[in-house]
Symmetry: C2
Subunit: 472 residues, 2 copies
């Protein structure tokens, strides 16, 4: 069966994964699965799910009510594709693992590639981890346990240990013969898919890599050392995965060699492993900017509530700080209630302008485009942009205030406060993430709340302060 | 020369690209380049830049002051690596292209792969595009112009036309011989790098793909049709690149065949092309959520100010709407100024809680995890989470209000308003992106401003309204 992907092609493909939005599970298909599950029609279910890609089955499971999900997992337990587990969101995976039980999970793990198996095992509770690993066959357990010795989120966890290495004295012919022999003798000796061979010296240190497309174009007597590229990127096994992803993107790499402390080749990382890291990273950035822990969609209501609470609590504290600033000017507001009406405008504009600067800065820090080399220039630019928009909005909001409350004074105060606040917003929006990054704090998490505290305080203080000073 | 990547290895590598933060250009190195440029020491410059990866040269150029950048481009014009241009940010690239002039850019384009060349050409002004294309040699111009006939951001622009296709009647031996011959006769006939061969029928329709690692493991007499995988993903040439990226991630693809209307094979897309699309998409999502146009860091101050202005203007309108709501209660505030002090707390908590729901929803829409199938369940969940946190913060803020202003009444009003606002925030934070996505509007752009308008209006209205109703 083949996958033809096309946007507007009614009716749906027989595998039920195409609708007008593209590659999504058809509502009708999901309905059919739910009905078959509820009726316990397991033959019917098997037929429905057989042509579906494992990643889509994972999506299907994630989208179902927990009860139906559990019934469905029971129904397909016998032909459960191990790769489904690797594709599942962490929360749903936990449920499914508990339901499958130790033995079934152990056989899933030994059927998976070592890096996928490690990915699943590393997220288990220590107790569960031990239990399940004991049930995994020895050979696979060793590979998994070796992988677990590398630090979490390191290159060691990301790499495949399965790769093809070739002594530097071999020829193209030797290499091709070796691969054909290996394929015959023992299927497991060669990785399922690979794009490069690594040429190693007698100490198993990588000397270079040969792309398969290069190997295939070369004559049998040519030594591999002649066609290898020496410009091979070597990644220390302990390097953080975000750093690995950054290097892959920066250098447009497709694969890289992973080396240990003594520079021996221990594995290889390919671009498809890195794509998942890039995804994770971005998910984190977006979620953190929005004040959410990752992985929230499938969590139980109680956990979601609990995880969101601390962030809201921090925001409550900052909101109270802003209120304290307002309370300093209670007597001023009493004299002129118009101030209470207009003051949120100044604070809100400050918050939004600051968020613009902050978004650019957080993103540029993540892509390493904002560094100590250009920090002052970027801050200077944000100050000018803040000042320019400050003047534009000073004119606008000054007019709004003056006309609304028929008072040139209020308009003038509004205009002045707007300039000051947008200047501060541009400065703070850039400086806060820079300072946080310098101190080793993730700027995506903490920048927003610090920024709005500052823009609120400055916004309320300058507006009410200028009013108290100039209008009475 | 080889790249060894290591985190803490002072002193810097000779190529100047490693410091404590990893793969970033060393400040000292940048300083040396700037000095050599200012002094016009072109021999020195050449030596400095020679070992540097082209992607790092692009980064270096982006980080420099425009004057220095322009002087540096002039200094390295003779040995300008074409790939630098492909790596540059759009704004800086425009500058460099103008500086290099038609003839130099034309020779850069013909040196690049067709997809990179198209990437550069498609972003030129029509006038400039015509001028430069006229200067490009015929063969390359044809390829570029063909590419430009596909819609912007389509699979056709993303794919490589260079690929290896094999008739379905060939054997492994035929294929290897063909590749060796092609490599000898004409270097350009085979793509620089490839991972799969496509097996085509006499009508040039793709029947399957053979991974090179599979080909190498097979004996010469084996027919390619026997070892090809028929589960080949076929992507229509007009499919949007975001959809392509989604399919690659969903199916864990490394490459896919691109077909035209009559199902003929016209090109292939590999995962490394898709990584750039994923990056672009994420950049867009983050920037849009923050109210910024992409590509802001390197833009001139005047453009940045102009591009950020409309977003702030929209926010001004919504802030004024919130102020109108407050103005309805001027007499209430006059009677009790404490209300003016406390009202921003309610609105701010509503905005933050709503942003949490909204971030999860926008992200889940982007990953197609939020669909019509589970929309009601997710909305229901957000309502309960909003209500639960509403109750928790009702207690907290009610106590703050009651103690601060020594009034149980104020505390009660605060508590009630908080529950209503957080409920609405949870509902609006999920429903707004869903409705926008349904109507074909990018939820990342418009959701935030709609949300805060709603949470501000509801926050101020319930708090002040309840106060007016219950306290007087």
């Amino acid at each position: 069966m083949t996958d033809t992907v096309e946007k507007k092609r009614p009716p749906a493909e027989p595998d039920g994964t195409h609708d007008e939005a593209g590659y999504v599970l058809e509502p009708d298909f999901v309905k059919a699965v739910v009905e078959a599950t509820e009726e316990g029609a397991s033959e019917n279910l098997k037929q429905l799910l057989e042509p579906i890609h494992y990643a889509d089955v994972a999506d299907l499971l994630q989208g179902l009510d927990p009860d139906i999900r559990s019934a469905l997992v029971d129904a397909i337990r016998a032909e459960f594709d191990p790769r489904i587990l690797a594709e599942l969101d962490e929360t749903v995976r936990d449920e499914v693992i508990t339901q499958l039980g130790v033995d079934d999970v152990a056989s899933v793990l030994s059927a998976l590639d070592s890096d996928d198996a490690i990915d699943i095992v590393e997220q288990l509770e220590p107790e569960q981890q031990r239990e399940i690993l004991e049930a995994v066959p020895d050979i696979d357990r060793t590979l998994i346990e070796q992988g677990l010795t590398y630090p979490e989120d390191s290159a060691g966890r990301l790499m495949q240990r399965e790769m093809v290495t070739v002594p530097n004295v071999w020829t193209v012919g030797d290499t091709i013969d070796f691969m054909r022999r290996a394929a015959e003798e023992e299927e497991r000796a060669l990785p399922e898919q690979f794009y490069d061979l690594y040429v190693v010296d007698p100490g198993h240190r990588p000397m270079g890599a040969v792309a398969l497309s290069r190997l295939l174009r070369s004559k049998r007597p040519v030594p591999v050392a002649d066609i290898m590229t020496e410009r091979l990127t070597r990644i220390p096994v302990t390097m953080d995965q975000e750093e690995v992803a950054f290097i892959f993107r920066q250098r447009d790499l497709v694969s890289a060699a992973v080396i240990d402390d003594s520079e021996r080749l221990v594995g290889s990382i390919t671009i498809d492993d890195v794509v998942d890291v890039i995804e994770e990273e971005h998910e984190e950035d977006i979620m953190h900017l929005g004040g959410v822990r990752t992985d929230d969609l499938y969590r139980a209501i109680i956990d979601t509530t609990r995880f969101r609470f601390p962030w809201l609590l921090v925001n409550l504290v900052t909101a109270v700080v802003a209120s304290v600033v307002i309370s300093l000017f209670q007597s001023t507001i009493e004299k002129m209630v118009a101030l209470a009406v207009l003051m949120p405008i100044v604070a809100s504009m400050g918050g939004n302008a600051g968020t613009q600067s902050l978004t650019v800065a957080v993103r540029a820090l993540a892509t390493k485009e904002l560094t100590s080399t250009n920090a002052f220039r970027v801050i200077g630019k944000e100050l000018i942009v803040g000042g320019s928009n400050g003047i534009l909005f000073a004119v606008l909001t000054g007019m709004v205030g003056a006309i609304w409350f028929a008072s040139i004074g209020i308009g003038a105060v509004m205009a002045l406060a707007m300039i000051v606040t947008l200047l501060v917003a541009g400065f703070a929006g850039t400086t806060i993430p820079l300072v946080l990054a310098r101190s080793g704090v993730d700027p995506a998490i903490a920048s927003g709340v610090l920024l709005t505290t500052i823009t609120d305080v400055i916004g309320f203080f300058t507006f009410l302060g200028l009013a108290a000073w100039l209008l009475f």
